[in-house]
Symmetry: C3
Subunit: 343 residues, 3 copies
Amino acid sequence: MAKTNTGRFFEDYSVGQVIDHAVPRTVSGGERALYHALYPARHALYSSDEFARGCGLPASPLDDLAAFHVVFGKTVPDVSLNAVANLGYAQGRWLKPVYPGDTLRSTSEVIGVKQNSNGKSGVVYVRTRGWNQRDEVVLDYVRWVMVRKRDLDAPAPETVIPELPKVVDAGDLVIPEGLDFSNYDFTLAGEPHRWGDYEIGEKIDHVDGVTIEEAEHMMATRLWQNTAKVHFDATNREDGKRLIYGGHVISMARALSFNGLANAQMIVGLNGGAHANPCFSGDTVRAWTEVLDKAETAAPGVGVVRLRLVAYKSGNVFELKGEDGKYLPGVLLDLDYWALMPI
Amino acid sequence: MAKTNTGRFFEDYSVGQVIDHAVPRTVSGGERALYHALYPARHALYSSDEFARGCGLPASPLDDLAAFHVVFGKTVPDVSLNAVANLGYAQGRWLKPVYPGDTLRSTSEVIGVKQNSNGKSGVVYVRTRGWNQRDEVVLDYVRWVMVRKRDLDAPAPETVIPELPKVVDAGDLVIPEGLDFSNYDFTLAGEPHRWGDYEIGEKIDHVDGVTIEEAEHMMATRLWQNTAKVHFDATNREDGKRLIYGGHVISMARALSFNGLANAQMIVGLNGGAHANPCFSGDTVRAWTEVLDKAETAAPGVGVVRLRLVAYKSGNVFELKGEDGKYLPGVLLDLDYWALMPI
Amino acid sequence: MAKTNTGRFFEDYSVGQVIDHAVPRTVSGGERALYHALYPARHALYSSDEFARGCGLPASPLDDLAAFHVVFGKTVPDVSLNAVANLGYAQGRWLKPVYPGDTLRSTSEVIGVKQNSNGKSGVVYVRTRGWNQRDEVVLDYVRWVMVRKRDLDAPAPETVIPELPKVVDAGDLVIPEGLDFSNYDFTLAGEPHRWGDYEIGEKIDHVDGVTIEEAEHMMATRLWQNTAKVHFDATNREDGKRLIYGGHVISMARALSFNGLANAQMIVGLNGGAHANPCFSGDTVRAWTEVLDKAETAAPGVGVVRLRLVAYKSGNVFELKGEDGKYLPGVLLDLDYWALMPI
């Protein structure tokens, strides 16, 4: 019997199935330091224990996106090893901060399947949960991927498409216990702009660009124990290029967004996201943000903003789609998320 | 007086000599995170404190190969700075797991010398020991290297060739105190295959490949404080290439072997190893394993398998040597080790 | 209102102004491991908790240059985002070791301004202090940079040029509390040469060279949260090159100087420094040192040496300036510092 994992194919998924993903991971200051070496991350809450304590938390958590990548990485061998495309995200919520010393594991429940009309592949919807060592859910999100069939003659399953609201309701967002921005230090945070200073519809050019290297995206992707071979094996594609993990672009764009959004400290919701075009080594990534919505929260001094974060490698800032409604070829990422900000 | 270390030459070694290697090293979660960023390492026991505790250990240890590299790295300035070739390993045993917070140092005893017939170099055999801060030996292995003579007129020493069994006897392997695989979680470990599922002679293709970058192998090699200039200085060789530290290939191949050997958790013995051909940046490393032997142990639920791990950069899987008995040019590594596995 | 930071211009500085720099940073074993992965750093006091305790310290501190880079990095958005050139350093003193768990922040006081005769830029002198979470100053240094004017019509400020002695007086250096080299272990440190073995005027060739990669210098520079775009964005310069952060060359040269100066353990003073020529990926960095001065200290067994550390990428060892008094084109760095050494 072959002992290597060939991954699941479309016909291996059925609605209601729960997958316990392998290889739990304990995080430490090492993951935090590497995150800061790999991305120009400067949000103060994730850089300083003292700043985090000033905001009512016990210590500085692991970056929310690092927590996301760890949870996501575990799902790859079970969900996306034979994926043709990562189609979307929805209903993502960060429920508990992750601290050094925590151990994360992931589970996914299949909540939808739909065979494609070509009969060669289908779309699988999963709700993934990240858990800590106290069996608390730290993160919860839906993603859907297109997966190949192993056996083209396998019968098509009954189509189930989950209802996925385009936006997480602001009232459903979970504010970390104890979070308090009443005494927020704007000087140490790096910018004076508070929740009230941002207007819906406002666009921010994050100005800086970062040229990406092979060694960096591979180290990042491995750190999250994401093993999809397209990221590591230069012989895998005909053009000899290694496709960069979409999460690398997410983290890069979010880190660049510090310049203009230094106070959008914590990510608490992921409404949606599209990896519009592939990113390769040598590309220079830039980012811009549009403020989509705003809401207040019950936590002292804490507001929430809904942001569209766009990463691009060519073209102009604030450009997104062409006349045909499709993403422009230089656009890499279109991400819709909620972040907490001092009011 | 010149203050820089020019390294020892062949005539500087004599049987019985003990060398205390410099620069002790305290390891932390930082070394663990970097190991996971540099290699696709996913063995659960080295990823999760919770999983390790479920196996009877107090926490997740530093990867056995990381411990090996730290111990090995310290020997380089004293043993292999003027080495022409790293010829072999034997009688390696891991005696104590290394945990974050431990401080490692190394000593080597010269156990054999043999001048080559050309009179220009000779072979030196050393038994190297790695020690922790409690003066416990954590690792013990023999290696032999070919070293140049400084003074070609120096008299040849009496030849002493140590007796080196080709295999560490399974009964001599040391099982970490408390290790218990009775309640081993195969789901979290990532594969269902247990000790009983592997047959002697069975070969496993680990499928995945990783293309290697200069920045990665240099970071890895520096992390182990291995200072051999061939790894770092592109002006050192005529072809402008930096030779990749053989240990980088070992770690890469071992990490790739997760796919098919996810439950071969702990390395406890090193029977032998050959760096068959040099590895350079741009090479894509693949790996396969042959099961050479199996044995039971006294620890609850713990078996041991003897594995041949082969890394290659070209040619076909399961190919090793040509008709002339020599390694094929695409073979990088032929490693023979013992690993613990749930029965 | 534009929310992104465009940085200060020359006319934004005035003598007496104090700037509280943003984004405090908690360091851990992760920063230490990365420092060892990025540089061939082997000074035993910064590698081993046990060795550090043998020298009277509670644990192994973060490398002094890593502490410098963290403190320096925070000043970049406020001091050098619009800098044309980093002109010099003076009066630097390390006042407290930084340990894992410490949180650093920086402040700068403007102590001098002088508009250039061309009216387009000027020189700004700042005294920067790094502080830990107990509001103790851990590091204090002066640097001056040439900064562009935003508005060429802005009036020239009154010229103030601070008096900056070329050397920190040996008596003003601060020896870490408890430091005691009476029982210093020269074997574990890696070299037998003590303070008494070095003579003023002596020059040491550190022999080894390291070829630099893009991924490495970017990871290092990001780790210190230094965001100057010239280091990251390949589209920023006409030649498509990314300028390497001068501090990367300082750390590389200092680490290379282990070979010959293994016992120059702790950096306590920075007398001056010039980044003589730019460094780019692909350059092979080498280093040499000249002993400029020596002094005793009040701490048991502790002497101090004043060292000129030169990094170069081409040309010959021990060459520094041409007949015109200018640095030779292959010289990268000329650094003048004080280091503690066992007597």
